[in-house]
Amino acid sequence: MIPAPFEYVRAGSLDEACRVLAEAEEAGEDVKVLAGGQSLLPLLRLRLAYLSALVDVGRLAELRGVEDRGDHVFVGALTTHDEVLRSEVVRELVPLLALATATVADPAVRHRGTFGGSLAHADPAGDLPAVALALDCVFVVRSDEGEREIPASDFFVDYLESALEPGEVLVGVRVPKLGPGWGFHYEKFHRTAQSWATVGVAAAVRLGEGVVEEARIALTNMGPTPVRARAVETALRGVPLGSSDGERLRQVCDLADEGASPPADLHGDPAYRRHLARVLTRRAVVTAGA
């Protein structure tokens, strides 16, 4: 299908993008930022969304790139998934991001789709929101009025709704490195190669002598927003990951879905998703700790 008509503005600078967005909002227009378009254009094409205007930030080089900044890696919002995967800085310093990005869609989509676009889209079935939540990433956003920072725990507000205010553009995200001793894994269950996660688990685990000292777990597609699985994080402390203690780990991981409100759809009902969250969390923790 062909999208319904909309106005198109190609921003020549971030300031221009912010100004155009602010003016459009003021005029009561339904306007959105266009980056790679790999989530937005299918929605427009299927006429699941109608917009009066798109502000294309796709050529703003200032929003692109990966930078090692000491205690964190800064990933520009416009960096494509493919660029994230090719980045040695990402692979070495924030490997959870690379592991999850490798499961996003397919190569052609990863050439166009952007890191910041996926996050701003705030789809709880997307793979990167759970990663941002597990790592306590910080979102840097800009508007006409200046810059502000939003912690990941405040960024995802509801289904396809982020904390971005009208007129704000996501500039990039600070991804904490966590430091030595951490292991990572993203465990995703989906029915076909490029489909969304039925459930996904982003896990970071720090071990000391085979015992979990600290864990960070976030869930994909277990509610209208990504879910931080705090109960299982706390319970995992002190649990050995050796094969002889499998039963204890299993019991602890049964807490993974606590506080989640999983959706029902063609791929599974809530009870099935809760089961998946428990099983996948156990697998993710074991692999991250290996």
Binding site: I2, F6, R10, L34, G37, R45, D82, A108, H111, Q194
Partner: protein
């Protein structure tokens, strides 16, 4: 209406386009490049895959205005004169198609895969083509063809 300049299969065009015009519709309806088919409405099937500035994209998920100033290669731009591209020859030799609808996208995705991995394993081919759906052959001959095409592109022959 925005005016764009886009080079398709080595010919440069200047076009006035509605912002909502998709790249695949520009290629097919305006420029007559019907070798690139539309297979789905969801961005899943990959039949419309083309090269945009050297990397594979699904042309149903790109606006024509986003391609302004860019270079597009479609399946129709692969042959040189009467000579097919090695990947096209390999798909022919290995009978890697039945109805042929997915073939243009498969070939473009395969060439993109070989760009990154000049000698892909069977597993690498299967993973690399995950964005392209074939509903008739069952992929076995496609995988074989891509590996053969990779050998021929590198000038290696069995």
């Amino acid at each position: 209406m925005p005016r764009i300049t886009v080079t398709v299969d080595e010919i440069t065009y200047e076009e006035e386009v509605e912002p909502r015009l998709l790249l695949v519709h520009l290629l097919r309806d305006r420029l007559g490049r019907t070798g690139t088919p539309i297979g789905c409405d969801t961005g899943n099937c990959g039949a419309c895959t083309v090269m945009l500035d050297g990397v594979s994209v699904k042309s149903c998920s790109v606006l024509a205005v986003q391609a302004d100033g860019s270079e597009v290669v479609t399946v129709e731009g692969l042959s040189s004169g009467q000579e097919w591209h090695p990947m096209q020859r390999a798909f022919h030799a290995e009978h890697a198609l039945q109805c042929g609808y997915c073939t243009p996208g498969m070939i473009m995705a395969a060439i993109d895969l070989v760009r990154n991995d000049p000698d892909p394993s069977e597993e690498a081919v299967r993973r690399g083509l995950e964005g392209n759906l074939c509903r008739c052959t069952g992929y076995t001959n496609i995988v074989r063809a891509v590996r053969r095409g990779a050998q021929e592109m590198a000038g290696r022959h069995d």
